[in-house]
């Protein structure tokens, strides 16, 4: 143990630790990669689940859904982020582990910090006797264990868990992609997706803008515009062709209706003339022009079936509306909105109208037809059930579906839940203080009552016969014989004295 160490003992010890250093650094890098993989699996699962449920909810409630590219993008961002984080952390840990090789070797070999202490004392140039002895001790220990494995951080990510999480995430992604019904956000109109439809509409509007301003005629308030190519020919560009085919197929079935519409239109023309005088000669439509316009109206109705344009509340009495409907296709100045905006608003229709049943759709169509024929009509066919005033509390999807504000409290927004203040966190409630009454005055009520004799028939006490001597406990202690006579005498004297005393007292009073 008296062996001393060379001057470059520190360098030599550091070089002896090289083997362990490589191990430690590599282990820290591997640990950070494993940690990253663990996070990756969990992240893919979370994103997959999120994607799936968002699609599911959007299909249920008709809200805007998530497209596939968003899901893939999220997963991509997550993977790249985790890889970056793992790299940075691994780098930092490897750097830290580099300085801990001796300590880790001590830990793994249970050498009681001999090596790390020796290196530290060498660095600090500890010159005490015990310090030097500790250096030598550490040197010898390192020579013995330099080939051994140092203590390294082992991260057990659980490959099965990671893989199952990752696969689960991918599975959910696929489920969301192929098995969940498409939401409104991904809805096709005919065979056309919404995005394409928008493009189409913009093309249409461009076409309108390019054409003769006299040909651009506004629709009714709902923005039901008649798009025509300049010259009155329907547009055949792009997907429109597909749509127009559909419309044409509908024309035959709607033939009957067009007749009545024609007559109604004639009736309403008189009103429109008075109200939309500004439209001038353009307001008068030729009978030959009527036919394509009507067929287009029907086609538009089919579009509306899918797009579920939000309906604006309309006053049937409004004379302008009646006029504008009758003067449809003739006046270009009565509409304040551009056709493009109105179409876009159709595409972004909200959930309240989207959730209507197929039966309601039919009703709406009927209403539309009425409008087209004679302007706004009273909603005679509104067969929606009357508003319920059921007092039961609604929860979950019932609550979401409660568009008409049925139930407790009637219409007027969300319903308040009933509860007590203690149900809300943070409301101070006076607690029990040990040894102290709760705050507040203490009221004591005292009743002043005296005992009263109760009148009535009561059972009278009976004169019981004297018990036998052995049974009567009192008699056992009574004096007998001469002692009894003596006691009797004493008591007579005592009572007579007391009697005399009382008599004297009375006399004095």
């Amino acid at each position: 143990m008296t062996r001393e160490y060379p001057d470059d003992a520190l360098l030599q010890m550091e070089s002896m630790l090289d083997h362990g250093r490589k191990r430690v650094v590599w282990a820290s890098v591997v640990a950070s990669i494993r940690r990253g993989l663990g996070l990756m699996g969990a992240g893919v699962l979370v994103i997959g689940a999120l994607f799936f449920f968002l699609r599911l909810f959007s299909s249920w409630f008709g809200t805007a859904g998530v497209c596939v590219s968003t899901g893939l993008l999220l997963i991509g961002v997550w993977v790249v982020g985790v890889l970056g984080w793992s790299f940075l952390r691994g780098r930092r840990e490897a750097k830290a582990a580099d300085g801990q090789v001796a300590e880790r070797l001590d830990l793994s070999q249970e050498t009681h910090n001999r090596i790390a202490t020796a290196i530290e004392f060498l660095k600090s140039e500890d010159d005490s006797a015990f310090g030097r002895a500790a250096i030598v001790d550490g040197w010898e220990t390192l020579e013995k264990v330099k080939e051994e494995e140092p203590e390294v951080e082992r991260i057990d990510v659980g490959w099965v868990g990671v893989l199952s999480k990752g696969l689960g995430g991918v599975l959910l992604l696929l489920l969301g992609l192929f098995f969940v019904p498409k939401s409104e956000g991904d809805l096709l109109i005919g065979d056309v997706e919404v995005g394409e439809l928008k493009e189409m509409i913009s093309d249409d509007s461009k076409g309108l803008n390019k054409g003769d301003p006299d040909q651009e005629k506004p629709e009714d308030d709902d923005g039901d515009l008649e798009e025509e190519e300049p010259g009155g020919k329907p547009s055949k560009s792009g997907k429109e062709g597909v749509l127009s085919e559909e419309r044409e197929s509908d024309q035959e079935s709607k033939g009957k209706m067009s007749k009545s519409t024609e007559t109604d239109a004639k009736q309403s023309q008189s009103a429109s003339k008075s109200n939309s005088g500004a439209s001038g000669g353009g307001a008068k439509s030729k009978p030959g022009d009527e036919e394509p316009k009507k067929s287009k109206l029907k086609k538009k109705k089919d579009w509306r079936k899918y797009t579920k344009k939000p309906k604006k509340p309309k006053k049937p009495e409004d004379p302008k509306e009646g006029g504008s409907i009758s003067a449809r296709g003739a006046s270009g100045s009565s509409s304040s909105q551009t056709p493009q905006n109105e179409w876009t608003s159709k595409v972004k229709a909200k959930a309240d109208d989207e959730k209507e049943s197929p039966q309601d759709e039919e009703l709406d169509d009927g209403g539309e037809q009425e409008k087209m024929r004679v302007g706004a009509q009273p909603a005679l066919k509104n067969r929606s059930s009357k508003i319920s005033r059921d007092l039961s509390l609604m929860t979950g999807t019932d609550k979401l579906m409660n568009k008409q504000n049925r139930g407790r409290g009637g219409p007027g927004g969300g319903k308040k839940t009933r509860g007590t203040a203690t149900m809300i966190m943070g409301v101070p409630v006076p607690g029990f203080v040990k040894g102290k009454l709760l705050p507040g005055p203490t009221k004591t009520t005292q009743e002043e009552s005296k005992p009263k004799v109760k009148k009535g028939d009561f059972v009278e006490s009976l004169e019981l016969p004297t018990g036998r001597p052995e049974e009567d406990a009192q008699k056992r202690y009574l004096p007998t014989g001469s002692l009894a006579a003596q006691a009797k005498r004493y008591l007579i004297e005592y009572h007579s004295q007391n009697e005399n005393q009382r008599t004297e007292d009375r006399g004095e009073e």
Partner: protein
């Protein structure tokens, strides 16, 4: 790599090595001698000797009949030191411990006040059932234990060296006792819990105590040697890594510190003081020397952490109500605190 010629062997290093060797030998001799009378309980004996060599005091806690008083008495015999035993009772007064001024007649017929030494002025003080005395009397021990002196009137008397107090207390009979205040508890370097002996130890106790022969304990060391050994203990170096570990251990007992676990924050009202840290390191140094090493390791500190810290961890209301043991908390700390440096 070029290796330079080894340095010439210096005396100091060899001397340190010899001193450490001698330390181990004396320690083993003392232990063997004590175990002639006190059967079993190796850990307790080692810890009591470590405290003696680290210049501290011991609080022994255990039910009656486990040999607490025997251990203290045997230790004093092995060292051939002055031994005094004070039985603490509720009516014991401070003057009964430290001594008092008494009026004495001089040769000339006059009178003078003379200090009559109390039992605390000895090398070895056994404070038996210390928690039975009133706080006033208990506090009389404070100065003796920390400053190694007693003050009576205007007179201050230095206590002899080595000085060690071995106090005992019974954890069961708590009626009519005065639990030691934190200030006094902190002055004990360790609190050792004496448990029941093992099966073989019982046989050893029977053989040694119920026969004709009585175990003869000899003196194997002296007070001077103990003082030298205390000096050796102080010379043992501690690396920064180990120091940091000790600091983390102490801070982990303090609720609200960055190393404190959730259990500590919840259950502990008061953690260890810096005096606890000093005790931890000194005990660790003795542990390193008896392990044949020249520097303290983290494991040395971990080995002595429970006896050093258990009476310094004061449980709060929640800890007491949930019957959390300080020993368990300290073991939890030992598992959670990182031994590697940052």
């Amino acid at each position: 790599m070029k290796t330079k010629e080894p340095k010439t062997v210096e005396k100091s290093s060899a001397e340190a090595s010899e001193q450490a060797k001698h330390f181990c030998e004396v320690f083993q001799k003392l232990k063997t001698e004590i175990q002639k009378a006190f059967v079993g309980q190796d850990e307790i004996v080692e810890n009591v000797l470590s405290v003696l060599l680290s210049d501290g005091h011991v609080l022994l806690e255990g039910v009656p009949g486990l040999g607490k008083t025997l251990l203290a008495a045997t230790l004093s015999k092995t060292l051939n030191l002055d031994f005094s035993r004070i039985q603490f009772t509720p009516d014991l007064m401070p003057a009964d411990i430290v001594g008092t001024m008494v009026l004495q007649e001089t040769k000339g017929g006059g009178h003078e006040l003379k200090f009559q030494e109390g039992p605390v002025i000895a090398n070895f003080v056994l404070a038996d059932e210390i928690n039975r005395a009133t706080p006033k009397t208990q506090s009389a021990m404070l100065e003796a234990m920390q400053e190694r002196q007693v003050s009576v009137g205007k007179q201050t008397i230095k206590l002899p060296e080595p000085f060690i107090v071995i106090a005992t207390q019974n954890p069961v009979e708590q009626d009519g006792t005065y639990p030691l205040p934190e200030a006094q508890l902190d002055r004990f370097m360790v609190k050792l819990t004496v448990g029941y002996p093992g099966e073989d130890d019982y046989l050893g106790i029977l053989n040694r105590t119920t026969g004709v022969s009585v175990s003869d304990v000899k003196s194997v060391s002296t007070g001077e040697e103990i003082m030298k050994m205390r000096q050796i203990v102080r010379e043992v170096p501690v690396s920064e890594q180990v120091q940091r570990y000790a600091v983390r251990l102490i801070m982990a007992t303090q609720p609200g510190s960055k190393y404190a676990s959730e259990a500590i924050n919840k259950s502990v009202a008061l953690g260890s003081s810096p005096r606890g840290l000093q005790s931890l390191i000194l005990m660790g140094k003795v542990r390193a020397l008896i392990g044949g090493r020249y520097a303290v390791s983290c494991q040395d500190l971990a080995d002595v952490a429970v006896p050093v810290l258990r009476h310094r961890v004061m449980l709060g209301f929640e800890g007491l109500s949930s019957r959390v043991s300080p020993d368990e908390l300290i073991k939890e700390i030992l598992e959670s605190v990182e031994k590697l440096s940052d």
